[in-house]
């Protein structure tokens, strides 16, 4: 993944922090009982997805076995949408004066990171599927292209998070970008209608012309549940890691402050 870790930018300064023993404060890890349960649920639903996706659900009349990519492709993209929406909501919460708290910023960041991860999976699965269905990894279809733009946009968002500066500054800047970026999701969703491309039209949500087999629909449902659980697990952990990093930055600051003060005496 590209820019994931904004704390590890090259900001080493004269008062290098690496020598201190400030890591000792965080031995407890990021797990709690709830997240362990969540993890177990994730694994279980993944197993269920494998069973239904690969064995129970039928092959497609036209596309054959390759239709099974659908569960990954569509499952991940919907969860990516969810992730980006959460990012936007958390960003709004951060910008709103009465709820300003860095925790919203961290949730926004963590959610975007996981969203980018899922979106990468979508693109990957879509490209593979494209090779099977259209004979090419990539076509210049409207949805495919707008999806690529959405992906780039959130890479840009993560780059903005990585610019450095104080935590609040990071929060403010990235929140604005997130609120603008989320507006691209409808564009991607409606792009098929707008531009009439090669890509599949809405076939799941549009109930007037259900084309999917019932068992396929159910498998897709399981896929979405499984990916959502995975998403939650990842975000919770990532968010806690970020909190630790922020705290570590603060601890590092204490150390650097001491060194800076000694400069005058030395």
């Amino acid at each position: 993944m590209p820019v994931t870790d904004n704390a590890v930018t090259d900001n080493r300064t004269p008062g290098d922090l690496s020598g201190s023993d400030i890591t000792g404060a965080f031995k407890s890890g990021t797990g709690t009982r709830f997240t362990r349960l969540l993890g177990i649920a994730t694994i279980a639903s993944m197993a269920l997805l494998i069973v239904f996706g690969l064995f129970v659900s039928p092959a497609d009349v036209i596309q054959g076995e390759s239709v099974r990519i659908l569960y990954i492709h569509v499952g991940t993209v919907w969860v990516a949408y969810l992730a980006f929406s959460v990012t936007a909501l958390a960003s709004a919460a951060f910008l709103w004066k009465r709820t300003t708290s860095l925790i919203w910023d961290r949730i926004a960041g963590a959610s975007a990171e996981v969203g980018v991860l899922f979106m990468a999976l979508t693109l990957f699965a879509g490209a593979l599927w494209g090779r099977l269905a259209w004979g090419k990894f990539w076509v210049w279809d409207a949805r495919v292209t707008t999806t690529a733009f959405l992906f780039i946009t959130y890479i840009g968002y993560l780059a903005v998070r990585g610019l450095g500066g104080s935590h609040h500054q990071r929060g403010r800047r990235s929140a604005v970008v997130a609120l603008l970026a989320v507006l691209e999701i409808p564009l991607v969703h409606f792009s098929v209608k707008l531009w009439r491309g090669l890509h599949q039209d809405s076939s799941v949500t549009d109930t007037t012309k259900v084309k999917l087999h019932d068992q396929m629909l159910f498998s897709l449902f399981i896929a979405v549940i499984a990916f959502t659980l995975l998403y939650s697990w990842l975000v919770i952990h990532r968010q806690r890691v970020m909190a630790m990093q922020d705290a570590l930055d603060d601890k590092g600051l204490d150390y650097a402050l001491q060194q800076r003060r000694d400069e005058g005496d030395g």
């Binding site: 080493r12 300064t13 008062g15 104080s166 500054q169 590092g252 402050l257 800076r260 400069e263 005058g264």
Partner: protein
Amino acid sequence: METVVHLSNAVAVLGRFPVLAGVDLEVAKGEIVLLQGPNGAGKTSLLRLCAGLLPLVRGEAIVLGCDLMTDRDGVRKRVGLLGHANGLYADLTVTENVRFWGSTVGASVAEVDAAMQRMGLAKRLAKVPVNRLSAGQRRRTALACLVARRAELWLLDEPHAGLDANGRDELDTTLREATNAGATIIVASHELERAGALATRLVEVVGGQTRERSL
């Protein structure tokens, strides 16, 4: 006496480097405080903090009655900063530059002219574009922009650098007039003899911290 600047254990960082490592400073209205100290001590950073340009990370900072943690915009409108850079538009003439910076606070044409007069720019140089000025002439222009801004708190970072003997005298007069008109001034300078004669108080900055010194 009215307090204009109140810093208590103020911390500011650039990247991860704590440029200000817990600064305490009290400045009362009408004072001319001289900041002095070795290169890299944090004088520029201290001035930028007071101008609301460098975010406060920890501690307390109240400037002109506004808390820098929450209300930096309130401070900025009433503070004038002359930094190491001049902040001039190279393609515009001297007059256009001073007028632009004056009009950001709604100064009248007369006030702008007075400011240029003050720094000896009213005659030959008025219509010369800044990119054809010498270093000292640029510094004068930047000072004229500052004068035109009519700030309540003036923050000057090495204002003498590049000015000729005449310009230094004009600057001193200008600063004295400003304090008489109710402004407060903080100057960072390495020219102790020059700035010391002007200042009412000397503060030494070392290693991101301040120490009171006698003049």
